[in-house]
Structures are given as structure tokens and as C-alpha cells.
């Protein structure tokens, strides 16, 4: 067996895991911190990818357009998230399962709209020239695009955790998560906190979308394929656990990659699912909603 038979899935899987992590980061914020399951999160990711495409229509130099597209995608997806929060989700904080279904409806509508606005076969997002090369790792030519995904994920994680830890807004978010009533009586506007959290979480999906557009196709269906794995990553990582999310994303990415290498891509999905179920059997703690004393 060649070295790259072992190395390739590891590196590819790490990149896949990084992409998953990008998709899951926002979810872990909105679900982990707010308890809202946003099934349209995948479509926010799609919005980010289309935003990258649109940016490229204006800035044709792809070397430049992608760096510009990242913040644009963040803001576009974030604004859509904000809109969703203000119009629908804010009325449903006490009905988490129903929120899940309402956002399924939103995701159907967004997918269909994208299908009608953009060509149904999808749009091409040009890769910048500086991502064309390869890095040779132990005899395996690793595409720089994958390395870029990993770097992007690292930057996002670092920025997010710094934001949560060191800014006053981050502290307010954590205070609200910890004890909403207390936060409210201490003068924190929990409404503003909710909105900002949702904006940020959705914006991160947009960033993930740019990364996804550089690796796979950009089309109306692309979001749907991320939402379930991203959610499983959040679940396996444990609620509101950034560290857990990172490890879980990497593990799932690498596992999928090896499974796919040994079997087929689709069997890999089935195996990954079984893996998660087995994992839940072993470590259900990661799954428990925050332990409270109430019986609700």
C-alpha cells in the first residue's frame, strides 16, 4: 500500500471536516446557545455561495473577488438570518420542535427561489489563482484549496471564541444562555442578544458557503446536503461546546473520507450514521440538553 493511500483520506477528510465545522459553527451558536434548530441553515450556506458568485460578476479578478466575497457572504446570510429571526423565530422560542418544521418550510422556499433565479444546473465560482497549486505532503499532492478551507475554519473558530470570550457582547450572550431571566433583570436586552446571535450564526453559514463553492458545485441543492451532517456534528460535540464541535467535525470528516475510500461514498454516509448512533450510546451526555432540575 502506498503512503498516500493512508495520507490522502486523512488530508481530504480534514478539509471535509473543516468545511463541516464551518457549516456547524453557526448551528452550534444558534442551536447550542439559543436552542433554535434552524433547518434553513443549509440554505444560508447556499446564499453565501451565490453571494460569492455575484461578487465575481462585479469583481472579475478572482484573486481579489474571493477575499471580498467572504465578508459579503457573511453579511448577506446574516441579514437573511436576522430577517428570519425577526419575522418568525422570535415567536417560537418556546416551541423548539415547531421551529424546526417552520424553518423546513423556509428552506423549501429559499431552495425554490434559488432554483428559479439562478440556472438550475448551478453557477461556476472561479477559484482564485493562488489556490490552484498543490502542496506535496509525504508524496501526496494536496490541493491548496483544501488547506485554505482548514485555514478559514481555524480563523472563524478563533474569531468566534475570541468574540464570545472577550467582548462585552459575547459575555452578554453567555449570560443570556446561562440564565435568561437573570440576564434580563440585570439590564441585558435579551432580544438584542438573540438577534445578534442569530445574525452571527447565519453569517457563519454564509462564510461556509464561500468555502463550499470553491470545493463543490454552487446550486440550489447544495445547502440540503450540509444541514444533517452539520447538525450531527453539533450533537456529537455536545451542546454549546465549541471544542466538542471542532473535534466532532474533524472526526466525522476523516471517518467519512476513510469510509468512502474503502467502500463507496454512499455507504460511507450510512456507516457515518451508524457511527453517530453508536457514539450516542456510549456518550449520551453530549446529547443531554442542559441539565436542569425542573421536570419540564
Amino acid at each position: 500500500m502506498h503512503v498516500d493511500a493512508l495520507i490522502a483520506p486523512l488530508l481530504n477528510g480534514s478539509a471535509q471536516g473543516a468545511l463541516l465545522l464551518l457549516a456547524a459553527l453557526g448551528l452550534s451558536l444558534t442551536f447550542g446557545q439559543m436552542g433554535v434548530i434552524n433547518m434553513a441553515h443549509g440554505e444560508f450556506l447556499m446564499l453565501g455561495a451565490f453571494a460569492a458568485y455575484l461578487v465575481q460578476q462585479v469583481i472579475t479578478a478572482s484573486d481579489l473577488s474571493i477575499p471580498v466575497a467572504l465578508p459579503v457572504a457573511f453579511v448577506v446570510a446574516g441579514l437573511f438570518g436576522l430577517l428570519l429571526e425577526v419575522t418568525i423565530i422570535q415567536w417560537m422560542y418556546r416551541r423548539p420542535l415547531d421551529t424546526l418544521l417552520v424553518t423546513v418550510g423556509v428552506s423549501l422556499i429559499l431552495q425554490q427561489a434559488a432554483l428559479q433565479i439562478f440556472p438550475s444546473q448551478g453557477v461556476p465560482v472561479e477559484k482564485p489563482g493562488w489556490l490552484d497549486g498543490q502542496l506535496t505532503v509525504l508524496g501526496y499532492d494536496w490541493p491548496l484549496r483544501q488547506l485554505f478551507t482548514i485555514l478559514l475554519a481555524t480563523v472563524c473558530v478563533a474569531a468566534l471564541s475570541a468574540w464570545l470570550k472577550h467582548t462585552s457582547f459575547g459575555r452578554r450572550i453567555r449570560a443570556t444562555v446561562h440564565n435568561r431571566d437573570l440576564a434580563e433583570t440585570s439590564g441585558i436586552s435579551t432580544r438584542t442578544v438573540d438577534r445578534l446571535t442569530f445574525f452571527t450564526g447565519s453569517g457563519l453559514a454564509g462564510v461556509a458557503g464561500v468555502a463550499a463553492s470553491l470545493i463543490g458545485g454552487t446550486n440550489s441543492q447544495m445547502g440540503a446536503q450540509y444541514i444533517i451532517p452539520a447538525f450531527l456534528v453539533v450533537a456529537a460535540g455536545g451542546i454549546g461546546q465549541l471544542k466538542g464541535t471542532i473535534i466532532a467535525a474533524w472526526a466525522v470528516g476523516v471517518a467519512l473520507s476513510y469510509f468512502a475510500y474503502w467502500t463507496t461514498g454512499s455507504l460511507a454516509q450510512v456507516l457515518a450514521f451508524i457511527l453517530v448512533i453508536v457514539f450516542l450510546q456510549l456518550r449520551p451526555q453530549g446529547l443531554f440538553t442542559v441539565r436542569t432540575r425542573s421536570l419540564a
Binding site: 442551536f31 415567536w91 417552520v102 418550510g105 440540503a224 454516509q269 450516542l280 446529547l287 421536570l295
Partner: protein, 363 residues
């Protein structure tokens, strides 16, 4: 409180007469066939109503169990049509391809029927046991079931030689010895599906009025509290989940001879969500709501969905948003809502803690 179940039973009777006696007389073959298809979705929906409406388990992957029934049936019908030969699609790429081992037992009619019943029971039993005992619930449960549907659909799509892949299984000529093309046999197949729907309604009718129904609602609303009465809520939920899986499988099995084709698209995430849509629309916790809602959505899907697919998707999306947001108990809660609205000005009754769905529960 004691009278209401009998009214519901009467309703099932009327429904049965309409489906089994009136529909075959007044509907064209084409529409009768369509109605049969809606009945199959309705059977699965009745089970979803039990698991989700009464049990609080949002089953977003009923397509899995629908698939177990459907593919069991489809394999049998394919083999029956192929006779001694290996089914055509398998030898498309390799004329000498053998029949995969797991197909072999489905030659037998008895085995097939047994599989339609036992496969969902075993799969749902294992999955439910694993998840409920570990207290996996709420959104986690919902997403995991959906993940299973996605995984199964992907698996079927990619195993074109064994399962027909995306093109699915079709071209069935016989149904347990009956020629499927014969109009009389088509009516028979419809009657079986409609009859099974009525049976499923009777089953949940009895479950809802039984002590189990009350216990299930109690478990839905306060799972931990039930534990302190000496029950293991996991078992209560498991029973409801397994029954709902069985119903989905039965719906899937009848879907095959009626529609004549089964593909991964009919069982994947989107199809599973469509089943939920009907239940939400009709009223998740009511007796008739899930079935009627599923028939309505089924009608929309097969008529609007093909003539105006873009518009239909928007309608479906809006349906989720509007119904869940404003009418969480679906259309079946409308009468009670109107009645409550009319009563309110006259008498200021004690504040009713009950939502409409509970009127049903208390019956």
C-alpha cells in the same frame, strides 16, 4: 367524555363507506388509482399522528419504514414478473449477473408479507430502544431519523444493480398472481389499500381511547413525571414508534402495486418531510387530521406538483410556515377554535387550559 369515542367511530364508518363503496362507483379508474396512492400516504400519516401528535416524537424519517415495506413488496413483484429469470435491470450491464442473495427469499409471498410487517418492527424496535433508553429526544431524535432516511435513500441510489438505483423498481405485471393491468384487479388493490387505511384508523382510535393513549399523552407532556409514577417512558414511546413504523411500511407496500414504481425519491428526506406536511396540515393529534391532511397534500403533490412544480414548492413551504406558526393543531382544530370564539362573549367559562388537541385527548 364517554360519548365522543363513539362519534369518532361513526366518523370512521362514514369514511369507510365513502372510500370502499362510493369512491369505486363514482371515480374514474385514473382518479381511483390516485386516491389509492393518497390512501398509502394517509396510512403512513396515521402512524405519524400517533408518534408525533400523541407521542411528541417528531419522526422525520418515516420514509425509511415506507421504504422497507415498499421495497419488500417491489422485490417480490419484480421477481413474480420476471419468473425464473433474473430481473432485467440487473443483467443490463452484466448478462450473467446472479440474483443478489437478499432477493432470493422475496420470491415467497409469505416471506414478503412477513417482511413487510417484521422489518419495520425490528428496525424501529432497535433504533427506538437505542435512542429512547438513552433519552435521545426532541430535535435530536427528529434529525437522527431524517439522517437515516437520507442515508437509506443514498444507499439505494448508489446500488443500481441490486436495487435499481435512482430509476427504482417498476414494470410489475402481477400482484400475488393477479394481473395488475386488469381494471378489476386495480379496483381490488385500491380496496385493499383503502381497507388498510380504515383498519389503521380503527387501531389508533382504540389506542387513543385506551389507557395507553392517556399514558402516551402524559409521556409527551411530562416524560420525567411519568417516570416517577413507575413507568419507563422509553417503553411507552417505543410502542408508539414501532406501531407508526409498521403503518408506514404498510403504506409503502401498497404504494408499489398502486403506483407501479418505487424510487429513492419516494422515501428520502423530501418525501419524509412531505408526509409530515400532511399531518401538520390536517392536525397532528386528531384522529382524522393526519389521514385527511396527507390525502390533501398528496393530491397537491401529484396534481399541482406536476403541472406547476415551482408554485407547489412555494405552497408547501408556506404551508409549513403558516400552519405551524398560526395553527399548530392543524385544520382539525378550526371547528373547536370557532366554537370557542363564539362562546367567549356569552359566558366567561373557566380559563381552559386545554388546547384543541386535548379535546380529542379527553374524549
Amino acid at each position: 367524555m364517554t360519548k365522543k369515542p363513539w362519534i369518532s367511530l361513526g366518523g370512521i364508518g362514514v369514511f369507510a363507506v365513502l372510500l370502499l363503496a362510493v369512491a369505486p362507483l363514482v371515480l374514474s379508474d385514473h382518479w381511483l388509482n390516485n386516491l389509492g396512492k393518497y390512501c398509502c400516504w394517509a396510512i403512513a400519516a396515521v402512524g405519524i399522528g400517533l408518534a408525533w401528535g400523541r407521542g411528541g416524537m417528531l419522526v422525520m424519517g418515516q420514509g425509511v419504514f415506507f421504504a422497507l415495506g415498499a421495497y419488500s413488496m417491489a422485490m417480490h413483484l419484480t421477481l413474480e414478473s420476471a419468473g425464473d429469470r433474473v430481473p432485467g435491470f440487473m443483467v443490463l450491464y452484466d448478462p450473467l449477473a446472479p440474483l443478489p442473495a437478499f432477493w432470493e427469499p422475496f420470491r415467497g409471498a409469505g416471506f414478503t408479507l412477513l417482511a413487510i410487517v417484521l422489518l419495520p418492527v425490528v428496525v424501529a424496535g432497535i433504533l427506538g430502544y437505542a435512542l429512547f433508553k438513552r433519552r435521545v429526544k426532541g430535535a435530536y431524535f427528529a434529525i437522527l431519523t431524517q439522517a437515516l432516511a437520507v442515508a437509506l435513500a443514498t444507499l439505494i441510489s448508489s446500488t443500481i444493480r441490486e436495487t435499481g438505483g435512482d430509476t427504482g423498481l417498476s414494470d410489475f405485471k402481477y400482484f400475488f398472481g393477479f394481473v395488475l393491468n386488469d381494471p378489476a384487479n386495480k379496483i381490488m388493490v385500491f380496496l385493499i389499500a383503502a381497507g388498510l387505511l380504515v383498519v389503521c384508523l380503527l387501531v389508533v382510535w382504540q389506542l387513543y381511547r385506551s389507557r395507553f393513549g392517556e399514558l402516551l399523552v402524559a409521556t409527551r407532556d411530562a416524560e420525567e413525571r411519568v417516570r416517577f409514577l413507575g413507568y419507563d417512558p422509553a417503553n411507552v414511546k417505543l410502542v408508539a414508534f414501532v406501531v407508526s413504523a409498521l403503518m408506514a411500511s404498510i403504506g409503502g407496500a401498497m404504494f408499489v402495486p398502486i403506483v407501479g414504481i418505487i424510487t429513492p425519491a419516494e422515501i428520502g428526506a423530501a418525501a419524509s418531510i412531505l408526509m409530515i406536511a400532511g399531518v401538520a396540515f390536517g392536525g397532528r393529534a386528531s384522529l382524522f387530521g393526519p389521514a385527511l391532511g396527507a390525502m390533501a397534500v398528496g393530491w397537491g403533490q401529484s396534481s399541482l406538483g406536476s403541472t406547476w412544480p415551482d408554485g407547489w414548492t412555494y405552497i408547501l413551504g408556506l404551508l409549513f410556515i403558516v400552519v405551524i406558526l398560526f395553527l399548530p393543531n392543524g385544520l382539525s382544530s378550526l371547528p373547536a377554535r370557532f366554537a370557542a370564539a363564539r362562546r367567549r362573549p356569552e359566558q366567561k367559562a373557566a380559563p381552559s387550559a386545554a388546547t384543541p388537541e386535548l379535546e380529542e385527548v379527553r374524549s
